[in-house]
Amino acid sequence: MDVFERIFGRSSSSASVAKKRLQVILTQDRTDISLETLNVLKDEIVSAISRHIEIEAANVEVTISNDAEGYRLTANIPVVSTRTVRVRTAGARAPRRT
């Protein structure tokens, strides 16, 4: 642990690594969602988002985990530029959710 972690937390301690690993392992043990399904999901997410935003497709991570609040599908998507890719269907604004 480095100085900051010693004082402010234990975010990269072996215990917290163990906890994060367990959350991933158990979610896979408990569900029927395979790694293959997650990879297909990842490809589809990448292609959907790339139509609008420039992202680092190679570094996208899609994981399923669960905690006290339930299962959670998380996509970690590094963005290359915040300028939006020009969208072909411009003008069609999504209706606001009520």
């Binding site: 010693r6 004082i7 301690s13 072996s14 215990a15 917290s16 163990a18 392992i25 408990r30």
Partner: protein
Amino acid sequence: MAGQVITITSGKGGVGKTTATANIGVALARRGQRVACVDADIGLRNLDVVMGLENRIVYDLVDVVEGNAKLRQALIKDKRLPELHLLPAAQTRLKSAVNEAQMQEVCGELKKEFDFVLVDSPAGIESGFKTSVAPADQVLLVVTPEVSSVRDADRVIGLIEAYEKPTPQLIINRLRPALIRRGDMLDTADVLEILAVELIGIVPEDERIISSTNKGQPVALEDHSESGAAFMRIAQRLMGEQVPFQMFAESPGWLERVSKFLRR
């Protein structure tokens, strides 16, 4: 009133089921409860040794099931605690020597005479595990704060639910406060959050467990060890008493973190 059958089990082997069974049995008996400990680990019996009763075995569980002995003849009475009894496992037989229905019948008989029937389950999730869980009114799941033990515990929770038994209650064993403080061991909150089951006790790692096992004198026979006290609190909770949980450095304060830093 009929007693309850409590099966002590785990996912991973060697995490402390037998130690827990012996000590919870001792602790309950010290509180005046009538207790029968049943060794369901047929072929690899150990509960007799941990309890220090190995020299008194005449008949065993398989003898009872096969009709070679009466239950009363096979039960060993512990001379140190008049309320404590052991039904030993057979050492030279296979797990398949006792099936679920037979285990249920034996435990059903014991329940009539004892307040608590504690079943020490074998390692693994094969037939022996299922047999030992079959008679349970309540299941205690022993886990150590390690990745493989927690993972296997999770699997067993699923199996126990599939058998339509009540959700097990957790015993976290071999907790090492110094490692937790350093961030090198999962703490109680971590394990509970991951497994999402109720806690019934935390037992610290304690050298005395090794020396007491050497002598065949479970730590819970005496008052002065931390682990013995932890088993006593589990026994009290099983009896329905409200006993506060002892925290073993689970949430170190900032001062402690800083002072540790200063020392180096």
